[in-house]
């Protein structure tokens, strides 16, 4: 499925202003709007299964649209437990407020920013959009650093704050993924120490997960 661009260039600030009107407790970034399913993992209907099998933003959007062509929303971001993981866009760009989808609690009909769907950073940007952004991080930078960040953000089609958050988050993930020491607090250290002193026991969830048949074949 190919996504069509929105019909005209849109001002991101206008999109944001319209979006905020629909859900005051949510904050929206440039290309992330419209939100809010019930927690799909808590329910037993289709989207939960789709999420489990296709935990990928663009792919999920395509799969859902292929399976449910009656969906008539221009775009929305699926949040799971507070984190945006998927941008779903209707291919014809028509807005149909009456369109129904079980679980959609709010809809916002702001148009897609022009070119957002063709920009991979849209998807990666979504990852860092929280449903509630009430934390503030203040940093001071020199003029040269600020200009450098602004240029890089512009080249990435992101706001400066989104670019800084995305870049820092990537570096944070890198650091966390190769830690040589993990330090525990008082209660966590006690809990782990106690657990390590008991004999090994079968983990039911692990046994169940590993017992599932996979849908591919090993070559060798």
């Amino acid at each position: 499925m190919s996504f069509r661009r929105a019909t005209s260039a849109r001002n991101s600030a206008a999109v944001r202003a319209r979006s905020v009107g629909f859900a005051s407790e949510l904050s929206f970034e440039r290309s992330a709007f419209l939100v809010d399913f019930r927690d799909p993992l808590a329910d037993d209907w289709g989207i939960g299964a789709a999420l489990e099998n296709l935990a990928v933003a663009g792919e999920l959007g395509r799969a859902v649209l292929e399976q449910m062509p009656e969906i008539e929303l221009e775009g929305l971001v699926v949040f799971v437990r507070g984190e945006a993981i998927a941008l779903i866009v209707h291919s014809d760009g028509q807005l149909q407020p009456s369109a129904g989808w079980p679980g959609v609690r709010r809809r916002c009909f702001g148009p897609l920013p022009w070119g957002a769907l063709d920009n991979r950073s849209t998807y990666c940007h979504c990852k860092y959009v929280s449903s509630v952004k009430d934390e503030r991080l203040q940093i001071r930078v020199g003029p040269a650093e600020k200009r450098l960040l602004e240029r890089a953000a512009e080249a990435s089609h992101l706001s400066v704050s989104a670019f800084v958050v995305q870049s820092a988050a990537g570096r944070a993930e890198e650091v966390l993924a190769e830690r040589q020491v993990i330090t525990l607090g008082h209660s966590a250290a006690a809990a782990l120490s106690n657990a390590l002193e008991r004999p090994g026991q079968v983990n039911g969830r692990l046994a169940e997960a590993l017992g599932r048949r996979h849908k591919f074949r090993w070559i060798d």
Binding site: A169, A188, N194, L206
Partner: protein, 172 residues
């Protein structure tokens, strides 16, 4: 039916990682640009599952870590080493083309078996993962991983004890 090679260590000459696309740019980029560096610096080893053409469809980066438990009360865990030697699963990602086939589960099974082998040949008392986000945390919890800090429900560090893994694998 899709045919895949069993997990093996990443070999730049043999494996094509240029097309890897899991939907998380950070994870794609790491495999394509930094996995080799991590191996050369001996900070992480990368295991891959590839298709019949040698194209990487899933990977996991592993490194050894230590869990500092000095904050535990003195009487607790006298027989437990400190730091606790553990295997850290830094990253695990599956290409979109094979999503839903159970490739991630197969890679997890390999990682856990590796931890058991390590525990027998040296010492590896736990497997620790740092979930990339809350959705990923839920995915790991399906395998029985528990929060490293139970007091922090939003935490992204999870663990499984190697002894429990061994007991479970023995029963399967």
């Amino acid at each position: 039916m899709t045919e895949l090679h069993r997990p093996e260590l990443l070999d730049r000459a043999k494996h094509d990682r240029s097309r890897f696309d899991c939907g998380e740019p950070v994870l794609d980029e790491w495999l394509q640009r930094y996995a080799g560096q991590s191996r050369r610096r001996d900070t992480a080893a990368t295991w891959v599952i590839t298709d019949a053409d040698g194209v990487v469809v899933a990977y996991a980066s592993l490194s050894m870590t230590g869990i500092d438990r000095t904050a535990a009360p003195a009487p607790v865990g006298k027989a437990v080493p400190d730091p606790v030697p553990a295997l850290l699963v830094g990253r695990l990602a599956v290409d979109r083309s094979v999503a839903g086939l159970g490739v991630g589960t197969a890679l997890v099974a390999h990682v856990l078996a590796t931890a058991v082998e390590l525990n027998q040949s040296a010492a590896c008392r736990a497997v620790v993962v740092t979930a990339i986000n809350p959705a990923a945390r839920g995915w790991w919890q399906r395998f029985g991983f528990e929060l490293l800090d139970p007091g922090d429900p939003d935490g992204l560090d999870l663990f499984l004890l190697t002894a429990d893994i061994e007991a479970t694998l023995r029963r399967l």
